[in-house]
Symmetry: C2
Subunit: 115 residues, 2 copies
């Protein structure tokens, strides 16, 4: 086990980047930059309000950046930053761990509930 | 980016094992099995009720097991299971990522707040 212990700062940052919508936004953006409505289509269950708040949090934490495109009319795109990208591998590892572990977890739950 | 996408099942399991107390319990148990009160001393801010609920969740998910010791008087110890151990590397990686990233996140927050 590493010497790193879970400080309040760790906790706060993890809560802000591992929350439900942030994970899905980072996942959607890792393919390519997207506009707000493209993100809404990529994450059907998210409300406009939740998406706005999560994007703002990710932007404030330096994981995502807002870029005004040079198109006519002007538009705003959201892009994942190198900082956001550095989280990507962890998110992949978490999702992979969850996929691998779910069958064993479900067996554990079944025997716990039957006990 | 892996083909694994974030299903509701993924989400539920991640929420249950990455929550505040579960992370700290798994961290405390990775050194050695502990009794309830030893866990409470290892995690000063947790209440009895929160610790009981988190242990129950971890046990139900197969991450921790309750073992009745052969001592006189009998006592109960909590041990991390191989399933719980498999999460340990990810928790280490998350904590390491957070430690490495916090300075850049704080710079991003400062410039976002000043903008």
């Amino acid at each position: 086990m590493t010497e790193t212990t879970l400080t309040e700062q760790h906790r706060e940052l993890l809560d802000q980047v591992l929350d439900k919508w942030s994970l899905q936004i980072l996942e959607a953006l890792c393919g390519s930059p997207l506009r707000f409505n493209e993100l809404r289509r990529a994450i059907p269950l998210v409300t406009q309000k939740s998406l706005t708040a999560a994007l703002r949090r990710l932007e404030r934490n330096g994981m995502v950046e807002r870029v005004v495109t040079g198109t006519r009319p002007v538009a705003v795109e959201y892009r994942i930053t190198p900082l956001g990208d550095s989280l990507q591998d962890l998110i992949d590892a978490l999702l992979h761990w969850t996929t691998e572990t779910l069958p064993a977890v479900e067996r554990a739950r079944a025997s716990f509930d039957d006990a």
